[in-house]
Symmetry: C2
Subunit: 199 residues, 2 copies
Amino acid sequence: MPEQPEVVWHHTRIQPEDRAAALGQRPVVVWLTGLSGSGKSTLANALEHALHERGHHSFLLDGDNIRHGLNRDLDLSPEGRRENIRRIGEVARLLLDAGLIVVTAFISPYRDDRAQVRNTVGEARFLEVHVRAGLAACEQRDPKGLYARARRGEIQHMTGIDDPYEPPHAPELTIDTEAQGVAAGAAQLLEALRERGAV
Amino acid sequence: MPEQPEVVWHHTRIQPEDRAAALGQRPVVVWLTGLSGSGKSTLANALEHALHERGHHSFLLDGDNIRHGLNRDLDLSPEGRRENIRRIGEVARLLLDAGLIVVTAFISPYRDDRAQVRNTVGEARFLEVHVRAGLAACEQRDPKGLYARARRGEIQHMTGIDDPYEPPHAPELTIDTEAQGVAAGAAQLLEALRERGAV
């Protein structure tokens, strides 16, 4: 066995505050909610780059790393959507406890589910952001071609078409992506994180 | 609206390599497996302190932050245990992609389930560690009083009593907690992380 470095045994557990302090930031989850095509992913990536360039440590949860991994057993039924958001909220809590700033980009159409996440991660760490664009604009953008498929009846449970979207009553922030561009929206998000003392 | 800092829009996504580089480490999951009472949590906490003191960024997944959160809907049946480990593996993957060194402390009794996690996170990022102590020693330690309750028939599905434990055939490391103390075990783990180039 190679020579061993000295390790001191601690009985205690490293605390979330310790992890955040070591990273020089105060963890917050930026929870982006809105219709498909509203601009959540674009804003999320722009915010992540802005944070990264400023030396902060964040992580993005979105369909790309959740749907085919942790939540691959869930469908788009109301129950499946609810469990989808519950698990994402629990993972966000773990990432926050690890000291990271978390950005999420999910339609998350139901008010109650978002309220449950707020409760899971704690009010002080939850920044609900309504990424707003009208259905007509989202349908025109249709970056994944989902609206077209839903209109042709090829897919069901499309939020805005045959499933409801419940906009937040009192989000911490609203970003209107019909009225302003990505850079301005990302700057708003960064400013909101500054006001919270996160960065 | 307050004056906005300039934000440059990137179309790309921040990659796992970028996150790891920003944290100055190479992410690995230290997967501790062994009987209840074998010393997994104690070793995990000792390793975390050693990493923290050396300026590294890690996160611990264990019963305390998983059982009553993400996996509170699961029972101790073989199917429940399998899904428990699957989800923990998926969360470990996300934490690794976030750049963190991950330490897990779960009995994880089934070989197939651990092999699935190895596959999920990728061979190069998986360090399977058998935390070994005989059943007699574990039962004598019985830190949670679970063996006593199992012997009295008050709880079922106790690994080692009425549920099997499948030890790893070829773990990256075995730590015998009957033969050596916590500090020596944590030092072995740290050395293994050094050999991997993680720290």
